[in-house]
Amino acid sequence: MKVLVPIKRVVDHNVKVRVKADNSGVDLANVKMAMNPFCEIAVEEAVRLKESGAVSEIVVVTIGAKAADEQLRTALALGADRAIRVETEEDAQPLAIAKALKAVYDKESPNLVILGKQAIDGDNNQTGQMFAALAGLPQGTFASEVKVEGDKVQVTREIDGGLQTVELSLPAVVTTDLRLNEPRYASLPNIMKAKKKPLDVLSADEVGVDFTPKVKVLKVEAPAEREAGIIVGSVDELVEKLKNEAKVI
């Protein structure tokens, strides 16, 4: 069984991003980039499936510029077998990404596609669903548990009211939620081995996708600053303020 894991290079989760002075976006100059945390979880899940014997090959794919090879190499170090990068300098948006993934899917014919529920840069939460629709595949989104049994996959989903378990017939699409697993670190011996694993590059033409953005960002603003809290002197004062100032009791 073969698994395809799409991953994305994004601003590192721990970076405090700053809005550019002209409000055109956030400042990405000299900012640390890393694999999207939900993608790390997707890679980890695929590797665990491989370790359990359910999966024989893991292919990771990303859409982006050459710099994203760094994240592909990380995925290879974590246990993926091969990597593919679809080349584009554009800031690709979910629909174009989903279309490119569809092209890679057709080429690779994997039995399972595992990807993050969203990327922390755009926070769109669209790519997995759009791709499943384009490829005509069943989807199990927001997975907190994935079990492969024969030609079926059981996905436990985190939904508003609790947990829901769905069964999908393979091939299928799974998007990962935060509690699915705890990703491992890339071990140094594996980082070295990863350098020798195959990494193929496809051009936008080869996948037949136009990555020119279709959605235009008009303005980006930082959230309003919260006012500093105060320390009250006594419970009575707290109650008084809650009543008369905050007007919540």
């Binding site: 590192d12 721990n14 640390k32 670190y185 071990s187 140094l188 070295m192």
Partner: protein
């Protein structure tokens, strides 16, 4: 004098609301992390201005009241403990950044500014305050200066001392001194600033400090390596230092790791090894990353290293650091007896072997946890209290063995306190690192600044 009478001396200066005598305040402000002595201050004073600090010191001189300067109370040598009815001078209210000059890359802060607050201020300005350790969220700049705090970046950035370019102090006599005024160069005789750094509150009270800032490090990357023996750690250090500028080189034993993992920090790799080291460097280019990989391969081939991981994101950098930074906190419930000892880096293997032997023989029934800033030749030797043993008996047995440990320290011309200070916990052992003649000079210096012995008496050394 009873507590109310002592408070009455200071009330005209601060008002009753900033002279605390209640039990909760006494317990909170009268102790640090050591928890060996019961806190018993007469009063807790909360000054807000230089003038108030000076008035407090003058009044204390007049009435013969002992003062204990108190910062974030994260100290590990009982320097900020008030167990004998002293008045605590807590700097908590003096927590403002006073001025910042981008050309000097310097910031002037009040002594009560929290270390992390300064780190964040620097970050906001696109700069970096490099003194860092696990207690930075609570410790104060005044306390850091009082102990000449070190921490996890010393190998690259040095101790607190390197970053202090100016101090305003109130001496034990009650004089206000402005020391060095932020100058980079100043060859005008004795540099009194440096006497106050590491003085543990025994010469006077630090009121504000001018701190230099560094450029922000670029793409910090951490390796955690599994190592077989102590000797191998030093070989790894040597190999890496020849080719990379390390920003940190820390080590910890598997026992330390076990305590941290029990606190829910994720394991770095599947197989446990006897020791671990954590190295950090700026991965400024792909070439630097390559060099690190080559060094790792070399260490692997030599058999010094068994396994290793490398952070791939800042989040992983953070998580890997937790393996080291959460050790103190995770062993704290076991009332550890802490030794913070150092020798020159080249002597570390021989020194550790000798200490380990003594300790193993002396405490076959105790759990020994080693960790520390090994790149600086600084080791934290922690002995954990067995649950069944009463605290007093435990510390008594530890004190007994300390002498043997410190004899080995003395033989290697090492330090009985590398960065935690002497305070009360290491006071009986000062002679193992400082000669009698030297201590006589220390006392003479103290007498010059604090003739009436009101500043933190009983810390560092006794009057006679």
């Amino acid at each position: 004098m009873n507590n109310t009478q002592v408070a009455a001396i200071f009330e005209p200066i601060l008002g009753a609301e900033r002279c605390l005598t209640d039990t909760a305040s006494a317990e909170q402000y009268g102790t640090d992390w050591t928890k060996v002595w019961e806190p018993a201050p007469s009063v807790v004073l909360l000054p807000e201005t230089l003038e108030e600090v000076q008035a407090i010191v003058r009044a204390a001189n007049e009435h013969g009241v002992a003062l204990v300067p108190s910062g974030g109370r994260t100290g590990l040598s009982a320097g900020a403990v008030a167990a004998k009815g002293e008045a605590v001078v807590a700097m908590d209210r003096m927590n403002k950044v006073l001025s910042y000059n981008p050309f000097d890359r310097a910031v002037k802060v009040q002594a009560g500014v929290i270390t992390q607050q300064l780190q964040e201020f620097a970050e906001e300005k696109g700069l970096f305050y490099p003194v860092d350790f696990a207690s930075a969220g609570s410790s104060q700049i005044g306390g850091n200066i009082g102990t000449n705090a070190g921490g996890i970046k010393v190998i690259r950035y040095g101790m607190t001392r390197e970053w202090v370019s100016g101090l305003t102090v109130v001496t034990g006599k009650g004089d206000v001194l402005e020391l060095n005024n932020g100058l980079m160069k100043n060859a005008t005789g004795y540099d009194l600033r440096h006497l106050f750094i590491g003085s543990e509150g025994t010469l006077g009270i630090i009121v504000d400090a001018t701190i230099q800032l560094a450029r922000q490090p670029e793409n910090l990357t951490a390796l955690v390596l599994g190592v077989n023996t102590f000797d191998d750690i030093m070989k790894v250090l040597h190999a890496f230092q020849q080719k990379l500028d390390l920003t940190a080189f820390e080590f910890f034993s598997d026992k330390a790791m076990a305590h941290v993992l029990a606190h829910g920090v994720p394991e770095p790799f599947a197989e446990r090894t006897p020791f671990y080291c954590l190295l950090e460097f700026e991965q400024t280019s792909e070439a630097v990353g390559e060099t690190a990989m080559e060094l790792f391969s070399h260490c692997l081939e030599e058999g010094w290293v068994l396994d290793g991981v490398m952070s791939q994101s800042l989040q992983q950098l953070d998580q890997l650091w937790q393996l080291r930074e959460r050790i103190s906190e995770s062993i704290a419930p076991h009332t550890p007896y802490k030794n913070d000892i150092s020798v020159t880096v080249s002597q570390v293997p021989e020194f550790v072997a000798a200490v380990d032997k003594v300790v193993q023989e002396a405490y076959p029934d105790f759990e020994i946890v080693w960790f520390g800033h090994i790149g600086d030749g600084n080791m934290h030797l922690n002995i954990l209290k067995p649950e069944s043993l009463p605290k007093e008996e435990f510390f008594e047995r530890c004190n007994e063995v300390s002498k043997w440990v410190f004899e080995i320290v003395a033989k290697h011309k090492g330090s009985i306190s590398a960065e935690h200070g002497v305070g009360m916990t290491k006071k009986p052992y000062l002679g193992y690192s400082r000669s009698e003649a030297e201590i006589a000079y220390l006392k003479a210096i103290k007498a010059a600044f604090d003739p009436n012995h009101i500043m933190n008496p009983g810390k560092l050394f006794d009057k006679e």
